[in-house]
């Protein structure tokens, strides 16, 4: 059973710029999700998106934050299942290849999977559309 989501994407931007976008609090807050985040090993981060919309929060710990690999755990509000998100950047001339891996997803046990799925199916869709509006 596939337990890891893997995404690869090449950005036509230098590696340091992409690294800043995924590791700096103000940039994460701008394109991804409102963040309390420091790219320091051991830092307990929190991602929150417009609470008044009923959006869920995500918390976790930074496991690795050396350029250009960023690893943190990913725990969705109201669940206790720890999954892991890894961002890896590879320099390709003037471009940057991102390899994103989200692993441990099948470890969601029954109850927390139910809680998570329920919060996601409603709240998360709102978060994404909010974020889209902001970026446009």
């Amino acid at each position: 059973m596939e337990d890891c989501i893997k995404k690869e994407h090449v950005f036509n931007h230098p590696i340091s710029k992409v690294w800043d976008a995924i590791s700096k609090e103000e940039e994460i807050s701008s394109w991804f999700i409102k963040a309390d985040f420091k790219a320091q090993k051991g830092y307990q981060y929190t991602f929150t998106a417009s609470e008044e919309k009923g959006c869920i929060s995500i918390t976790g710990e930074i496991k690795e934050a050396d350029p250009y690999t960023l690893v943190y755990t990913w725990v969705v509000e109201n669940t206790d299942t720890v999954t892991t998100v890894k961002w890896e950047l590879i320099e390709q001339g003037d471009s940057t290849k991102l390899i994103l891996e989200h692993s441990g997803i099948s470890a969601y046990p029954g109850d927390s999977a139910v809680a998570m799925f329920n919060s996601f199916s409603g709240g998360w869709a709102d978060c994404i559309s909010e974020l889209e509006k902001f970026l446009n």
């Binding site: 995404k7 931007h13 976008a21 394109w31 991804f32 991102l98 969601y108 029954g110 799925f117 994404i128």
Partner: protein, 107 residues
């Protein structure tokens, strides 16, 4: 999410159950419980219990023939779990598009 999906998650959360299920998928025919149990180091009762949990999730079908009970794997319920994985796959796709736009704006 339905009670059924809940049972599927529960069934695949245990490594021994995943192994039993995997063995049945590879066999692709119905196997008697005694034969399945002989491949595992846990008791036959233990294996039977795991198979029961798999059956409750719809991942295994049991039918009795003579004195022996035969088990066959059914992978169909896993599509619900797949749905779950697809959700995240889509979430990351959308996030990467946003990251790309963010980088393009920030010349």
């Amino acid at each position: 999410m339905s009670e059924r999906t809940n049972r599927i998650f529960k069934a695949i959360a245990d490594p021994t159950r995943r192994e039993i299920f995997h063995a049945l998928i590879l066999a692709s025919v119905a196997l008697p419980i005694t034969q399945i149990a002989s491949n595992f180091e846990i008791s036959r009762q233990g294996v039977t219990k795991h198979i029961k949990t798999l059956e409750e999730a719809g991942l295994v079908e049991i039918h009795t023939q003579g004195r022996e009970r035969f088990c066959k794997a059914n992978a169909e319920p896993l599509t619900q779990i797949n749905h779950w994985l697809q959700f995240y796959a889509q979430f990351w796709d959308q996030s990467l598009v946003k990251l790309g736009k963010h980088l393009d704006k920030k010349a």
